[in-house]
Structure formats: structure tokens, C-alpha cells
């Protein structure tokens, strides 16, 4: 297995304060990884870093053989303007961006692909529905359909199942597993430990510092979860600036 995304001593943050601190590791091609951790532990920040929307404060993110534009990213809070006069078909068709670009025509084959994607997420017949009439769950289904059309090798999902009912979650999880079977790399931020244990083979546990990263069963041991829970959320406004010359102790290093 080769790594599709490699993180080297990565630090991401805001105003100089680290939100993800000295993270080392790799997402293997075709892996299905859950990112877990308390609120404010840097999970969403890490996804933003991987998409390139946030520049590292230190360290590097290497994308092996893919550009950041080939990553499908479903943010936690979609900035979708629900009042814009668009229908579900318009929203989902944005997924053709990579294949059709700025000017390419949406073709007959695309129409077929659009129908299939809508059917796959259980939104058959919704193509002409105005987006301001969708429920939260239906909107999330539509966004998953768009990810389907993006046909991306790497898929990032940020808390995709928050405030979504059980049946919808079940349908969308099936889609995630389908992507995994297609050897796509899927990384999802989640809070539901039971679901992660059931569905996700790999887990990264973050508490700003990485707590553990590896097989889910091993990562989600009681002592790790306890350590993650102890994270303090507040920033230390008077924390000294990090001295890049000094050797920093990494997680996993012998003390």
C-alpha cells in the first residue's frame, strides 16, 4: 500500500495558535479512516489543511499523485445559499466540474450519471425540486450525490451525519462503504464511536496533539479516549512561540 496523503510534522492553526500540533503519518491509498476527538481538537482544521484551504504553520502535507482539486470535500457547515433559485439537479450537477470544467457542455451521458447518482442517494424524482424545499437530510443526500459525480480518488467528509436521521445515515454509510470497495480513500470526521468501530477500519484520534493513529480497535482503547477527553480547549495566550531549532518530542518518540 502506498500513501496518498502524507503529513510531515504538520502544524495547522489560527493566529499562530496550533489547532493540530506536530502530526506525522499517512493516509494509505484506498483506506477508510475516521478522525475522532473532542470539539476543538483540530479535526476540521486538519481536513481544511488537506484541501489546501488552510496553509500549514509548520511542517508539510504531501499529496502523492493527486492535486488538491481532485479531492472531494464536504464541509461541516455547507455555505450553500438555500434561497438561491436552484433546483436539486443544479446543485448535484456541480459535481461535473472536474470532467466538464468552466465551459464544457453537460451531455447526455452526464444526464444518465445524474439520474444514477440521485437514485443512489434515494432522491429519485427530486431533480427539479427547488433547494429551499429540502429537509436537512435530503440536502445531505444531495451533497453525497454531488460527491458521487465528482468521482474523486480522495473524499473528505466533515461530520456528515450530524442532525441526520437513522435511515439516512444508514443509506449514506452504505455509500461510504461502496466508495471504500472502489478503492477510493475516504476520511471522515465522526463522533459516533459505535459507528466508527463498525464501519471504519482505521482511526486517527486527535486532541490537538495526535493521541493515536492506526487500526480502529487499537486506537479507540479506553486509555486513549480518556487522554483525548483531558484536552483543554482554551488557548494559552501567553504560550511562548515555538522554537523551530529545538527538537520537539513527537508522539510515539521514547521520552
Amino acid at each position: 500500500m502506498s500513501a496518498v496523503i502524507r503529513l510531515n510534522d504538520l502544524t495547522l492553526g489560527y493566529d499562530g495558535h496550533p489547532a493540530v500540533h506536530h502530526l506525522d503519518g499517512a493516509f494509505e491509498t484506498g483506506s477508510l479512516t475516521a478522525i475522532m476527538g473532542p470539539n476543538g481538537s483540530g479535526k476540521s482544521t486538519l481536513l481544511k489543511g488537506i484541501t489546501g484551504a488552510l496553509k500549514p504553520l509548520g511542517g508539510r502535507i504531501e499529496h502523492a499523485g493527486i492535486s488538491v482539486r481532485e479531492i472531494a470535500y464536504l464541509p461541516q457547515i455547507a455555505e450553500i445559499d438555500r434561497t438561491f433559485p436552484a433546483v436539486v439537479g443544479d446543485l448535484v450537477s456541480l459535481g461535473f466540474w472536474k470532467s466538464r470544467g468552466l465551459f464544457g457542455a453537460i451531455r447526455g451521458v452526464d444526464r444518465g450519471a445524474l439520474d444514477e447518482a440521485l437514485q443512489a442517494v434515494g432522491l429519485r424524482g427530486f431533480e427539479q425540486r427547488p433547494i429551499d424545499t429540502l429537509s436537512g437530510g435530503q440536502l445531505q443526500r444531495a451533497l453525497f450525490a454531488r460527491v458521487l459525480l465528482q468521482d474523486a480518488r480522495v473524499i473528505l467528509l466533515d461530520e456528515p451525519f450530524t442532525a441526520i436521521d437513522e435511515r439516512t445515515v444508514g443509506d449514506l454509510i452504505a455509500l461510504v462503504q461502496h466508495w471504500h470497495n472502489e478503492k477510493r480513500t475516504v476520511i471522515a470526521v465522526l463522533h459516533d464511536v459505535e459507528m466508527v468501530r463498525r464501519v471504519f477500519p482505521q482511526t486517527l484520534l486527535l486532541a490537538r496533539e495526535p493521541i493515536a493513529w492506526g487500526a480502529t480497535g487499537e486506537t479507540l482503547k479506553a486509555e486513549n479516549l480518556l487522554e483525548a477527553r483531558r484536552m483543554t480547549e482554551a488557548w494559552d495566550e501567553h504560550a511562548p512561540w515555538h522554537d523551530h531549532a529545538a527538537k520537539h518530542l513527537h508522539h510515539g518518540d521514547a521520552a
Binding site: T51, A53, R69, I71, A72, Y73, P75, A78, E79, I80, D81, T83, F84, P85, A86, D90, L91, L94, W97, K98, L102, F103, P130, R146, Q150
Partner: protein, 290 residues
């Protein structure tokens, strides 16, 4: 007096009426869709800000060569672009949002413009620049308006898809393309272009009227984007025609007449539109069985 005499003859008989009508119709076709996008992006007041921003450029052109169309148009376009660019840059590289930086720069620009006009002209000249003279459109001005409308419509067609994506889901567009920022700037350039196209006819201030009022009215009637654009154009054309006709028979200023007709259409739409106040109130609440 028959209908022909009332509704057609003023335009057939007088060249200035004829040219005014042609100019105003071209402006309506060009500015309507731009106004729809401004409205949908919640930037309805941005057009107004840009209208103020183009004043110093127009004034500089006016200082150099008097009330000539080309220098004033180019000057106004340049001034509007500079303000749009500066506002965009500030919002991109600082914590300040674009509405605030735009307000700051257009106010600076407006003050500069008024000062420039006062250096040379009388108040009458300032009134010309601010409120336009649609009845004084000459052939050069018509060619200019036509060229501007052509560029605007083609430009809008070219950026339609990324602009649509940028309005609907800006985060998504950022994740798949670098087009978002350039598209926003091109769109602002189109706004400025339409305003300078309109200011010879309607003045810098009222030019916004033909952009925003038809767009705002269209939202009360239709749901789809294309429908709104088409209806906004239609409302603009109707406003131009009846505005000029009213101006002719009542002997009142033509620019404000056009905008007031557009305003009337807006108010009527607000109350009687399919999605307006009355229809949504009086419609008995009923629902389908499934």
C-alpha cells in the same frame, strides 16, 4: 387622436425620442441580468456604491474634455474598477468584510469626484453627470451603449456557470477551482460597465435604477434564474418605453420618469406578484394529499 398617434408617433417623429428609446432599451437588456445576480448575491446596494464610485473618473473625463461621452465613460469605468479592486483586496487580505471596505472606498471616491466637478463646472454640469440626459443621446453615445451591452452580455454568458456556482456554494467552487475570485472581480467589472453605460442616459445615480428595480420586481413573479433574468429585461424595456412617453406628454424629466415607472412595476409586483404580498396572504391554506 388615435392609438398610433399616442403611442408611436413621438418616437417616429422626433429623433431624440427615438434615440432615447433605443438607448434605454439596450441598457435594460444589458443591465437586467446583472441586477438579478446582484440581488441574488445580496449585493443590491453594491450597485449603488459603485455608481458613486465612478463619479471621479467621469469628472476627470469631464474636466479634460467637457461633456464628451468617451473620456467620461473610460474615466468612470477606470474609477469604478479601482474601487472594486481595492475593496476586494482589502477583504481578501484583512479581516474587514467587503461591504465595509467598499463603503470606505466609494465615499473617498465620491468626495474626490464632487471636488473635481466643482473645480471647473457649474452646478448645472454636476446635475448632468449625476442625473444624465437621455434625450440628448447622440449616435456616438448609442454606439458606446451598444458596445457596452454586447461586452456585458457576452461576459455574463462566459462566466455564467462559475458565477452560478459561486452564488450557490462558494466553498465548493473554492475546492474544485481557482475561478471564484477572478469571477467575482469580472462580475464587479460588468456591474461598473453597465453603470457607465447608463450614466450618459440616466446619470450615475439613476443608472442603478434600471439595474436593480426590474430585477427586484422579477423575483415576485418567477422562481427560476433564467426566468428572472428574462423578466427583468422585459420590465426594463417596458419602463423605458412608458417612462419616455410620460416624460414626453407631461414635460417632466425623462431619466426619473423611466426609473419611476420601473419603481411602479416593483410596487405592483410587490403586491400583486405571484409570490408577492397579497397572493401569498389571500391564498387559502390548502395542501395536496401527498
Amino acid at each position: 387622436m388615435n392609438a398610433f398617434q399616442v403611442f408611436i408617433e413621438p418616437f417616429a417623429q422626433f429623433g431624440f425620442m427615438n434615440r432615447a428609446l433605443v438607448g434605454a432599451i439596450i441598457l435594460s437588456v444589458s443591465a437586467g441580468p446583472v441586477g438579478v445576480f446582484l440581488m441574488l448575491r445580496r449585493m443590491s446596494l453594491t450597485g449603488d456604491a459603485m455608481a458613486h464610485a465612478i463619479l471621479p473618473g467621469a469628472a476627470a473625463g469631464f474636466l479634460v474634455s467637457g461633456l464628451a461621452i468617451l473620456p467620461m465613460t473610460l474615466g468612470g469605468f477606470a474609477a469604478g474598477l479601482v474601487v472594486a479592486l481595492l475593496a476586494g483586496l482589502v477583504s481578501r487580505f484583512t479581516i474587514q468584510r467587503e461591504d465595509t471596505s467598499l463603503a470606505a472606498f466609494y465615499l473617498i471616491s465620491l468626495a474626490l469626484g464632487v471636488m473635481l466637478v466643482s473645480l471647473k463646472g457649474s452646478n448645472v454640469d454636476l446635475m448632468h453627470v449625476l442625473f444624465g440626459t437621455v434625450l440628448a443621446l447622440n449616435d456616438d453615445a448609442l454606439v458606446m451603449i451598444g458596445a457596452i451591452a454586447t461586452i456585458s452580455l457576452v461576459g455574463l454568458a462566459v462566466i455564467w456557470r462559475p458565477l452560478f456556482a459561486e452564488c450557490l456554494d462558494p466553498t465548493f467552487l473554492r475546492s474544485v477551482s481557482k475561478a471564484g475570485h477572478p469571477v467575482h472581480l469580472i462580475f464587479l467589472a460588468l456591474v461598473v460597465l453597465n453603470l457607465v453605460g447608463g450614466f450618459q442616459a440616466l446619470g450615475t445615480l439613476l443608472a442603478v435604477g434600471l439595474m436593480m428595480l426590474p430585477a427586484a420586481a422579477s423575483r415576485f413573479w418567477v422562481r427560476g434564474l433564467e426566468g428572472m433574468c428574462a423578466l427583468a429585461v422585459g420590465f426594463g424595456v417596458v419602463s423605458s418605453y412608458f417612462g419616455l412617453l410620460i416624460s414626453y406628454y407631461l414635460g417632466v424629466a425623462s431619466g426619473p420618469s423611466i426609473i419611476l415607472v420601473a419603481g411602479g412595476i416593483y410596487v405592483v409586483s410587490l403586491f400583486f406578484g405571484r409570490r408577492g404580498v397579497i397572493f401569498t396572504r389571500v391564498q387559502a391554506p390548502r395542501h395536496r394529499v401527498a
